[in-house]
C-alpha cells in the first residue's frame, strides 16, 4: 500500500462558543503509532470525532494525502479508509461476535465469502475464535474492547483511531493488546492514533506522542521528550510541580 498521511491542519472545534480544539495540527503516516494524551477534557476524543466527521470543524482541514475529508459524513470518511473505536464501547449487542466483525467487512463492500474468511482470521488473531457465536452483549468488558478493535480492522482501514482501547482490561489483557497493536503498522500497513490513560501502555507502544491541554497542543515528540516537557508536567500535576 502506498504511503499516505492523515493530517489535521489548524483544526478548531467549538461547542456553543467553547473552544474544544484550538488550532491543532497533527499528522500520522501509515507506518506509525501516535499517542494522544492529555488531562480529562483536553479535547482528545473531540479530535478523533473531528477526524471521523462526528463533529463539525469551526476552522481547519483534515486530509488523507491530497484528499480533503473534513466536511464529509462519517460514512464517507469511513469509506476513505478511516476506522475507529469508541470511548464507550459500541458493539452490535444482539448480534454475534462473528456478525459484529463481518458487518464491518461487508460495509466496505467486501464479497461475502472473503468477509467471512477475514472475520475468521481476525477472530483467531484476537483470541475470540471460541466466542464467535456469543452475542455482543454477553461478553466481558475486555472482550467487547477486543471485538471492537477486530471490527475496526475488518474494514481494512489505512488509519485506525482507538479511543481508550485498554480501558476495562486487566494487566494481562492489556499486555496482549499492546503486542497486537504494536504489530499493526507493519503487518497491515496502517497508521494508528491511540488515546489512553494508561501511560505505561502509551509510552511503550507509541512512536510519537501528541499532548493536548484545554484543546491546545502543548507538546509533541517522542516519549522521553514529552515526559520531561515542563508544560506537560504542569498540565498533569498542576502549576509548580516542575519545581518540586
Amino acid at each position: 500500500m502506498s504511503e499516505s498521511r492523515l493530517a489535521l491542519n489548524d483544526v478548531s472545534v467549538e461547542f456553543a462558543g467553547l473552544r474544544a480544539l484550538d488550532h491543532v495540527s497533527l499528522a500520522v503516516s501509515t507506518s506509525e503509532i501516535v499517542g494522544l494524551i492529555g488531562p480529562n477534557g483536553s479535547g482528545k476524543t473531540t479530535l478523533i470525532n473531528a477526524i471521523t466527521g462526528h463533529v463539525k470543524l469551526a476552522a481547519g482541514r483534515v486530509s488523507i494525502g491530497d484528499t480533503t475529508i473534513s466536511g464529509l459524513s462519517p460514512r464517507e470518511i469511513a469509506l476513505q479508509g478511516v476506522s475507529r473505536s469508541f470511548q464507550i464501547v459500541r458493539l452490535f449487542n444482539a448480534m454475534t461476535v462473528f456478525e459484529n466483525v463481518e458487518a464491518a467487512a461487508l460495509a466496505k463492500g467486501t464479497p461475502p465469502d472473503e468477509a467471512r474468511e477475514r472475520t475468521r482470521t481476525l477472530l483467531g488473531e484476537f483470541g475470540l475464535g471460541e466466542k464467535a457465536d456469543e452475542l455482543g452483549e454477553s461478553l466481558s468488558y475486555g472482550d467487547k474492547r477486543r471485538v471492537e478493535i477486530a471490527r475496526a480492522l475488518a474494514a481494512e482501514p489505512r488509519f485506525l483511531l482507538l479511543d481508550e482501547p485498554a480501558a476495562g482490561m486487566n494487566d494481562a489483557e492489556t499486555e496482549t493488546l499492546l503486542h497486537t497493536l504494536a504489530e499493526l503498522p507493519k503487518s497491515r500497513g496502517l497508521g494508528l492514533i491511540i488515546i489512553d490513560h494508561d501511560m505505561s501502555l502509551i509510552m511503550r507502544l507509541c512512536h510519537r506522542l501528541h499532548v493536548l491541554a484545554s484543546g491546545r497542543t502543548i507538546a509533541e515528540g517522542d516519549a522521553a521528550h514529552v515526559r520531561s516537557h515542563p508544560a506537560v508536567i504542569e498540565a498533569y500535576l498542576g502549576k509548580g510541580a516542575t519545581h518540586a
Binding site: 460514512r75 469511513a78 476506522s83 452490535f92 444482539a94 448480534m95 456478525e99 452475542l135
Partner: protein, 342 residues
C-alpha cells in the same frame, strides 16, 4: 446441518403441520382459521423484514397490504361484474382480467413501487420520528383508498373478487415469505441493517449507508404486504378500506412484537400464538354472549385481553419470545453444549 437451514426447516415444518393438521381435522372453521393464519404469516413475516432488521416500528405495513388487495381486485374482478363493483373505473382497466396468481405478483409489485417512490426521505429518520411518520403514511394510504373511488369504490364495500385463496395456496405463499425473510436477514443488506439497528453511529462509522439499507428492507416488506393483501382479498372476496387500518395494524404489530421482532422465528411464533389466542377469545366472547351471562353483552374482550397480553410481554420479555436468536441457532447451541458435556 447449518443453523440457518435448521431454522428454515423448523419454521416450514410448523407451517406444514398446521396446514396438514387442520386439513385432516376437516372442520371448515379450522380450515378458515388456518388460512387466515397463513395470510397473517405473510404479513407479519413481511413486517419483520423491515421492522426486525431496522429496529424501526412501521405502522404503514397494513396500508401496503391494502394496495395489494385493491390492485388484485382491479385486475381480477370479472369484466362483466366491474360495471357494478367499480362503477367509476377507468375504461382502460375494465377489460383487464388476469389470473389471481399474476394479480398477486402485481399487487406485491405495486405496493413495492409505491413504497420505493415515497419512502426514501423517511428512511433518514430514526426513533420516534420514524414511528410517527410511518403512522402518517398509514393515514395517507388509508385516505387515498377511501377516496380514490375509481379504483377502490371509495369507502363502500368492494365485492366480486374470485375466491381463489385456499389453505394450500396461502401456506405455500407463507413458506415463500418465511424463506425470503430468512435469506434477507442473512444477506449483506440484512446484516448491515441489523448492525444499524443495534448502533446507528457505529454502523455509519463502518461505512454503512443506513437510509439505503432501510429503503431496501422497506420495499421488500411492502412487496410481501402487497402479496399478503392480494392473498387475503381472494380469500375474503369483499372488503372496504376499513379493513386496512388501525385494528389490523395493532394485530400484526402485536403478533410480531410478542413473538420477537428481531427474529423470523419470533414472527412465526407470535403469529401462531396470537391467532390461537384471538380465535379462542372470540369464541369465548360469543359463547358468553350466547348464554347471556350476567347483564348485557360482552364486547371487546378479545381486544382488551390481547392488549394486556402485549403489555405483559413487553414488561416481562421486552424483546419478545425470541429476542435475538433464531430457533435453529438455539437448537444448534443446545446440541453443541450437550456434546461438550458428554
Amino acid at each position: 446441518m447449518k443453523p440457518s437451514h435448521l431454522t428454515a426447516l423448523v419454521l416450514l415444518a410448523v407451517i406444514v403441520i398446521i396446514g396438514v393438521g387442520s386439513h385432516l381435522i376437516g372442520i371448515r372453521l379450522y380450515d378458515r382459521i388456518a388460512t387466515n393464519l397463513m395470510i397473517s404469516l405473510v404479513l407479519v413475516v413481511g413486517l419483520q423484514t423491515f421492522m426486525g432488521n431496522s429496529g424501526l416500528l412501521s405502522f404503514a405495513h397494513i396500508g401496503f397490504m391494502g394496495l395489494g388487495a385493491y390492485t388484485s381486485a382491479v385486475l381480477t374482478i370479472p369484466s362483466q361484474m366491474k360495471g357494478m363493483a367499480l362503477p367509476d373505473l377507468y375504461p382502460f382497466l375494465t377489460a383487464v382480467e388476469v389470473s389471481p396468481l399474476l394479480a398477486m405478483v402485481a399487487g406485491g409489485l405495486v405496493a413495492a413501487a409505491v413504497a420505493a417512490a415515497i419512502a426514501y426521505p423517511l428512511m433518514r429518520l430514526s426513533d420516534a420520528a420514524a414511528v410517527i411518520t410511518s403512522f402518517a403514511l398509514l393515514v395517507v394510504l388509508y385516505t387515498v383508498m377511501n377516496n380514490w373511488s375509481a379504483l377502490t369504490n371509495g369507502p363502500r364495500t368492494l365485492f366480486g373478487l374470485p375466491r381463489t385463496t385456499d389453505l394450500p395456496t396461502a401456506a405455500s405463499v407463507a413458506v415463500l415469505a418465511v424463506i425470503a425473510a430468512l435469506v434477507f436477514k442473512e444477506s449483506r443488506t440484512g446484516k448491515l441493517l441489523r448492525a444499524s439497528r443495534e448502533d446507528e453511529v457505529a454502523a455509519a462509522a463502518l461505512g454503512a449507508n443506513i437510509p439505503a439499507l432501510r429503503w431496501r428492507a422497506f420495499i421488500l416488506a411492502a412487496f410481501l404486504a402487497g402479496v399478503g393483501g392480494s392473498l387475503w382479498g381472494h380469500f375474503i372476496t369483499s372488503f372496504s378500506p376499513k379493513a386496512f387500518y388501525l385494528k389490523e395494524t395493532f394485530l400484526i404489530v402485536t403478533m410480531l412484537v410478542v413473538g420477537g421482532a428481531n427474529t423470523v422465528t419470533g414472527a412465526v411464533v407470535g403469529t401462531v400464538l396470537i391467532t390461537v389466542a384471538y380465535e379462542g377469545l372470540r369464541g369465548t366472547e360469543s359463547m358468553l354472549n350466547a348464554t347471556s351471562f350476567g347483564a348485557g353483552q360482552v364486547i371487546g374482550l378479545t381486544e382488551i385481553v390481547l392488549a394486556l397480553a402485549m403489555i405483559a410481554v413487553m414488561i416481562l420479555k421486552p424483546g419478545g419470545i425470541f429476542p435475538s436468536r433464531e430457533i435453529g441457532d438455539i437448537l444448534a447451541r443446545l446440541r453443541a453444549r450437550k456434546e461438550t458435556r458428554s
